[in-house]
Symmetry: D2
Subunit: 384 residues, 4 copies
């Protein structure tokens, strides 16, 4: 089976998430990295590409150059999709350029720098006839898919309450002033957008809550804080949620929660059962009842739904992690491309990855929390 050819924008030497994307793309051996515009500095782009074993003529100084030169290559050589792994402010122009040049796009989250860009992007995608995927990694976990399945199938009854949280501790001090590159752009509004922690991780929490519950947040009341002196964007936020249909919820996220790693976690309670999932122990899903024992669903088991089983490469009990969840996005996305290019109907599993609709909701969430917080936590609707 031939591999799907991928190009990459961003992810040069020293970047964190670019390397993660490349691993995720490599795991299933279905995708080959063939080119990249890894850095806006042409030499740095070539050096980065050389590290990755690419030939210099396919390491470009700009994504515009990449689009042009790749399109000049024979169809069976040129890249088929672009992974965008830059800071947020580059997402929109790079995605637009790639789509308009005829390439599918798999973009890191949040979708764009602001809501307006995200809304503009949707018709561009539709017009292009190309695919657009968004790497909300956490929904790639099999147990998240199982959780979504249980809710969708009515196992929990009507959903009443959602608590989602994402505490981290790594920005508890002003490390952005110590030349920590990851911290620097995330705390810079021109690169990160209107929100800090809320954009970086709050959107993951929002996406997880909506995906699992199957409900849209209608309005929210947010109290954002920049605890670290001198920081320009929020590093902590607490949000009351009201979902369409009457469910209530809480979302809190923080990057100053000292000692926390990446403790994304969610609990959902319905009229019949509740569920609980923790990213730090991603292979277990707890399902709870008032009148019988709590159940622990586990990755890889035969009793899981199809989408959950499709995302597991080993028999049960070989613990999976973040990279496999990430790889599931790449796997489904590349299978979607494969089906389309073969003129086949993609399977439900192949279409199971976040799209621009998730992206618009994420950007609307960011704008809403920032607007709400600016008005002292006034209730604010999501504009989408």
């Amino acid at each position: 089976m031939e591999k799907i050819r991928m190009g990459m924008i961003g992810g040069g030497r020293g970047a964190f998430i670019g390397a993660v994307h490349r691993i995720a793309a490599a795991i299933d051996q279905q995708i080959e990295l063939v080119c990249g515009a890894f850095s806006s500095d042409p030499q740095r782009s070539k050096d980065s590409g050389a590290d990755l074993g690419l030939s210099p003529d396919r390491c470009y100084g700009t994504y515009a150059e990449m689009m042009e030169k790749e399109n000049a290559l024979p169809a069976d050589q040129r890249m088929q999709f672009v992974a965008i792994v830059t800071p947020n402010h580059v997402h929109f122009p790079a995605a637009k350029a790639a789509l308009e040049a005829g390439f599918h796009v798999l973009c890191d989250k949040p979708a764009t720098l602001n809501l307006q860009e995200a809304k503009e992007l949707k018709p561009i995608i539709e017009k292009s006839g190309k695919l657009f995927g968004l790497t909300h990694t956490y929904t790639g976990y099999p147990m998240v898919k199982q959780a979504r399945h249980l809710v969708a199938n009515g196992h929990l009854g009507d959903i009443r309450k959602v608590v989602v949280e994402y505490p981290q501790g790594w920005l508890a001090e002003a490390i952005e002033s110590e030349d920590q590159k990851q911290a620097a752009w995330r705390t810079d509004p021109s690169k990160s957008g209107a929100a800090g922690a809320m954009g970086d991780i709050g959107t993951h929490a929002e996406n997880l809550a909506e995906v699992i519950s199957g409900l849209h947040i209608d309005e929210l009341a947010a109290d954002l804080t920049a605890f670290v002196p001198g920081r320009r964007l929020d590093d902590d936020g607490n949000v009351l949620l009201r979902f369409e249909g009457g469910a209530k919820g809480v979302l809190h996220a923080s990057q100053i929660a000292v000692g926390e790693e990446n403790n994304l976690a969610i609990r959902v309670w319905g009229t019949k059962a509740g569920l609980e999932w923790h990213q730090n122990e991603p292979n277990s899903l707890y399902v709870k009842y008032n009148d019988r024992p709590t159940e622990i669903y586990r990755t890889g088991q035969g009793y899981l739904c199809e989408a959950a089983q499709a995302g597991t490469r080993t028999p049960p009990a070989h613990p999976e992690g973040y990279l496999e969840a990430f790889a599931n996005l790449y796997l489904n996305f590349s299978n979607h491309i494969r089906a389309i290019e073969a003129g086949e109907t993609p399977s439900e599993v192949a279409k199971d990855y976040p799209t621009i609709d998730d992206g618009i909701r994420g950007m609307a969430f960011i704008e809403a929390v920032v607007a709400s917080s600016a008005k002292n936590a006034a209730w604010t609707k999501l504009d989408c």
Copy 2:
């Protein structure tokens, strides 16, 4: 050593919390139940007392009768303190009567039916010269005392964020209409007060957050809901918190969280470390750092603070539970009485139990969440 003599108001046949109080009082063999007004029905009061091995002449039909007749007994026979274990609306009049009759009072929480009563009670206590304790059980756990100690000693640095939660599931259906006595009074405003879940368990969360963090909630924004059709009081609430001094927080509590038992839990993050404690695993306290391994403090160990060690009856590794935490309140309270009656200075440990000040704050919390929620989660100060 002679036992301290206790009377009880409420807690007759069929009551839940009265039996718990009696166990808590019995564990350390320092307290003797000598009389009671267990029920407003004199015969039921006598029957309840007979179950407990009391002589009929010390089982009273009213607390007023109890005060009068006990005071008529010789000093070395009459009760020394009263435990009030009735529904909330009886707390204030019973406590007032007992204090004015010269008895110490240990009262179930919340302190009173409303904030005004709590505020009135304080000068009554002061005037009486008697002790008033409030059974916020959870602060009786040794690991809560250790958590309080770590914060007070600066181990966590300056506190930035507190997340406290109390999900339960037992009121997910309208069991109050099925003659479930515990559910019935808790969902009846005339007996429970202005709040349902927020009064019953939200106050425990509020108390735990303030005790451990050492901070007072300044203002809050609350979104309360009665999910179960026909229920007159909230069975769920989500609250944004702002503490004096700038810390932020979240409090959520629910009685419709299907499958949850009694999952009171708290996380506190400061500039130097974070901590985490769960009532369902009460003998472990997690202390977290950005630059070294998480530590698990355990009940009974020699490295704990004095208050934590004083509340443990066995060597480490004999798991303790709710009843021992409750007993710690009784033990300290009775030792306080003992010291006072012996004309001695009570130890710090003997004074370590919740008082009317906790009670006033709890009632102010209830009034604030109800008022805030009525104004669509408007920020509301605690009136105390």
Copy 3:
């Protein structure tokens, strides 16, 4: 209801387990401590009794004196049963004396100093017509009762394997030479018997394994070690088990497992399901299947068996611990006495506590492991 009157042998000032017994007896307010021979030093016995509020004339210098003088009291005042909480070498003579004097006996474990004594004790008990209970505390936990119930009801199918373990760390150094009283007698063969760790905690593991699995150990191969230089009894042991009927197993126990508290744990696997229980998290019982999610049974829930429910004093989710498990032994034992003395048929629950048969098996286990280890782990049958 009148309380059952208890006397105590041992448990004077400074003892550990005596205080635990008194708490366990006090919790349910069904038992009253009326006398004691707390120490072989008469003055120390009186002082200890005074601490407990006993009158000096019921604090005896010897258990012989206690038997005699109590029997001289009117029937409605004299003690009804004796709790024996001394080091092991006193168990047999004290129990014999009490039984022959007409008192029921509740004895700490292991039953006696050696197997011969245990075997002698059985006909003495039978002849006396009195009850004899043994405080293997851990089988008092509700979730142990539920585990026993699941196995007995065939929920696990035929049992194939049992792994039971009890690591502790408190004897990792030679603290017996530092005047640590608990360590001193436990490491002294004249007081502890032929085994150290195997007698003190190995017997708990053996008892737990047999009670839950419903199987008797047929033969074993044991490798015992005294790791601490100069120690005369084993402080560690590893044992292969073969049960009657063909199940296999492992038992390991240690008092030199640094950092371990009291981690008694058991796993049992049958042809249909497996189960797992940990004393450090005593309110959860894990039941596992090959084809469906693991279940977590929890203390206090309505779906538990009668024996498990009978041992819980609070609604679910109020964590219980070691003292409540211990109290369950006292509660059932005292209810058994109550039934007998009322001429009633005791309930199944009232009879649910360990007896001399458990004691004989425990002593046979001790003798077998010591004999096996002396023969380089030769297979050795339990002599009972």
Copy 4:
């Protein structure tokens, strides 16, 4: 950087472990699969290779053909190492052929079909001047490396006791008779060797115990059982261990432990501290003390040893799993090849993978447990 070229023996369509090896090799994008003898059926080998995108001329029907034809290729095209992923009986002849043909070998475990082969293999390796790695996956986990480091650095003091276990449940029924391919060869002595569960997973436990403790097992006493009727090899085993230098231990492994996934776990206790690690929660390492709180070391943190840090691809808190542990073996092995071929001194990390010495010990373990069990658990020395 050019990729290291890999060939594969075994791992055709339907195989489990071959796919895992390919993922492990792909993750870090340092290795390229260039050829294979995936099946002894030439067409099946070609079909399997086609699935993987290989050209038909590099898909061979036998490993002999592969050696010959690859050696006929130019040096910069031919494979540099062979991964052997067949059932056990093919390991030795395939490894011998590859080494003698001048290729490095990375071989699945156990090393060979029996001890004699393993001992023969060692001089073959030495004579070839090529590398031989063995995929004991579990020692690839960062926290296992950290555990090894803590013991080696004296953090635990002198090691006294090791408990290692590996319960699985998937062979609880006779699925080998239902055409389950994985079960079939594992329960067939001609393909699996003298042991069943002990060879398949017992060796993993043995290797883990020796690697972490830094101690060699001197002698053992084993009780093996085939619980499933008709099964020819053990599906369960319990083993007493004695290590050189006096430490003791227990090893138990099972494939009939219903409901268990892959619960490899180890505890090691020394004179100063103890440690605990569970494969099911592989990113946490518990380190325990008698006089201070237990510590939880976590994957990816900056306080870990070099070998542990080298095996992590993401910042802390992105959970890693089995595939990353496996990839660490491939990464280090390929870096070792890279260093050697560049004439450089390999780093300590590059040499950090299991070798033939682990393989010989594993085979000696298998022979010893089988021999011991045949003699009713007689103490048996490891012959190496």
